[in-house]
């Protein structure tokens, strides 16, 4: 269930996301590697990437549709859980059918290597209801 307008939420802050930049062309999100994002074996918890992709896709959909986007489903693939110094994410809206939107999101490391990917289904809700 993802927020949409500015992506500033308690959980967003709690995981340490920064670089919430708004532009005409899209939405940029960065995640510095904080020690509390790691697991006991030193890898990044997959939930961190799920969170980043959910935020990123929800925010992008919200911006492009001027609605809140509620997550219905997320299908995530993880490629590399070893810690990197910095992460960025990109989103593409694949399809819209009335109140329902499908989007893709990809996370890259500082070398633009693909780290994780998600496809999500979202329901649009008016912002003023």
């Amino acid at each position: 269930m993802e927020e949409t307008k500015s992506t500033i939420s308690s959980f967003y802050d709690y995981l340490g996301f920064v670089g919430d930049e708004t532009s005409e062309t899209g939405f940029e999100l960065e995640l510095p590697l904080n020690p509390f994002l790691l697991q006991d074996d030193g890898t990044v918890h997959p939930g961190v990437f799920a969170t980043m992709l959910d935020i990123m896709m929800g925010a992008t959909i919200s911006r492009q549709t001027d609605s809140f986007a509620t997550t219905i489903n997320l299908n995530l693939s993880y490629f590399d859980l070893e810690p990197k110094s910095n992460y960025t994410a990109e989103t593409v809206i694949l399809h819209r059918d009335g109140k329902y939107v499908t989007a893709d999101g990809v996370i890259y490391d500082q070398n633009k290597k693909r780290i994780a990917k998600a496809t999500g289904s979202f329901k649009l809700n008016p912002k003023n209801y």
């Binding site: 269930m1 992506t7 500033i8 790691l38 939930g47 961190v48 995530l76 993880y78 859980l81």
Partner: protein
């Protein structure tokens, strides 16, 4: 009546992310493992609902605990599919998991999160690599 004794999982307590989110684990045996979370304000999104990242984190965690308990070795997530069923913003939620494919190098698990009244909050499934 005596209280049910729950086994400890050492690695769970040493996992910074799980501690940061406030997850607790309760284990009786391989088939009776639960991960619990008391929802508070830090877990919410701007709409004041439980953030979707928390559901995903919790489902991955219970699936990992189930596999690590059975295989007695670490596992790596390859895929996670999350269905968000019911919104929630307070109270205690509980996750459980069931291993549906137990291979030598790959395993598949399904899981769910329910609230205190037994209502389904989210459903998950995932594929994991067994580190041997």
């Amino acid at each position: 009546m005596t209280a049910v004794e729950h086994k400890k999982i050492d690695w769970f307590d040493k996992n910074p992310y799980l501690n940061h989110l406030g997850f607790e684990v309760m284990v009786q045996d391989e088939k009776d493992i639960l991960v619990k979370l008391s929802i508070d304000s830090r877990h919410l999104n701007i709409q004041q609902n439980l953030h979707g990242g928390v559901h995903a984190s919790m489902l991955d965690t219970i699936q990992t605990v189930a596999l690590r308990t059975v295989y007695q070795t670490n596992v790596t997530a390859m895929n996670l599919n999350v269905h968000y069923v019911t919104g929630i913003n307070h109270g205690l939620i509980t996750a459980n998991a069931r291993i549906i494919q137990k291979g030598y190098k790959i395993a598949a698990v399904e899981s769910e999160i329910i609230d205190e009244h037994g209502e389904l909050i989210a459903k998950g499934s995932g594929v994991y690599k067994i580190r041997r």
